[in-house]
């Protein structure tokens, strides 16, 4: 399965890449905003995406809407600091399949990914 990581923080992108322990996931691209993510998504056709929400140029919610239109079967895990319930509900309504709040432990990340690709 092909993985794409979207987050405006370099540290977070590297952290997710380093901490995820699934051999079946192959990282095919990273993006630092929604616009870059859509471009990368069209090019690399990932199966699994981790998505930040607060990003410049295009936020994660709008990006989710767009990539779900391109590939409805994509699995999206939102990884965001936004901790209100309404945001999580909106992300799921737009097409996300899971929601993980920052900060997170490696174990929480891997449990959330396992849930996503199960």
């Amino acid at each position: 399965m092909k993985l794409m990581i979207v987050d405006d923080s370099n540290i977070m992108r590297r952290r997710i890449e380093r901490s995820q322990q699934f051999e079946e996931l192959e990282l095919v691209g990273t993006a630092c905003n929604g616009v870059e993510a859509i471009e990368m998504f069209r090019k690399m056709d990932p199966d699994v995406v981790t998505m930040d929400l607060t990003m410049p140029q295009m936020d994660g919610i709008e990006c989710i809407e767009n990539i779900v239109k391109i590939k409805p079967a994509v699995r999206i895990l939102v990884i965001s600091a936004l901790a209100d319930k309404a945001t999580a509900v909106e992300a799921m309504e737009k097409g996300a399949n899971g929601f993980l709040n920052k900060p997170f432990t490696d174990r929480q990340l891997n449990e959330a990914i396992a849930e996503l690709i199960r």
Partner: protein, 149 residues
Amino acid sequence: MIQEQELKTFVEGTTNYFEVAAQQPASIGSPYLVTEGTPSCHEYTGMISITGKREGVVYFTAPKAMLTVLLMKMQESDFSHETMRDLVGEVANTISGNARKDFGRDFVISVPSVLAGERPDIPTQAGMRSFVIPINWRSHSAKLIVALK
């Protein structure tokens, strides 16, 4: 003006950040109000602008030495100036975003901007007072500053 319960949200967010991200709890001092001028800052400051239901800024300021150890605890091997900037922005973003658990989604947070130097130009407005939340972690000191109308 920020209420005591609202300040508690930021104290809890800061405590949670260090416990989870740094895997080592920080000692959080008693918050205090800055009565004159603007609070002094450390070498790196990550700032989030707040709009919507509330207006103001939340910023996290820390010395390079503390950020270096924090990065090491996160298994980072890049200690460049850019990574320090990224980290202070991410800490400010995480604590501010977590505050929406109590403030709700109308507490709108910006993407982080990073300020340099010990006297950065923090945008303030009339009627906005700054509360400082002192953070002691290992042998280092940092601050979370919350200024909301």
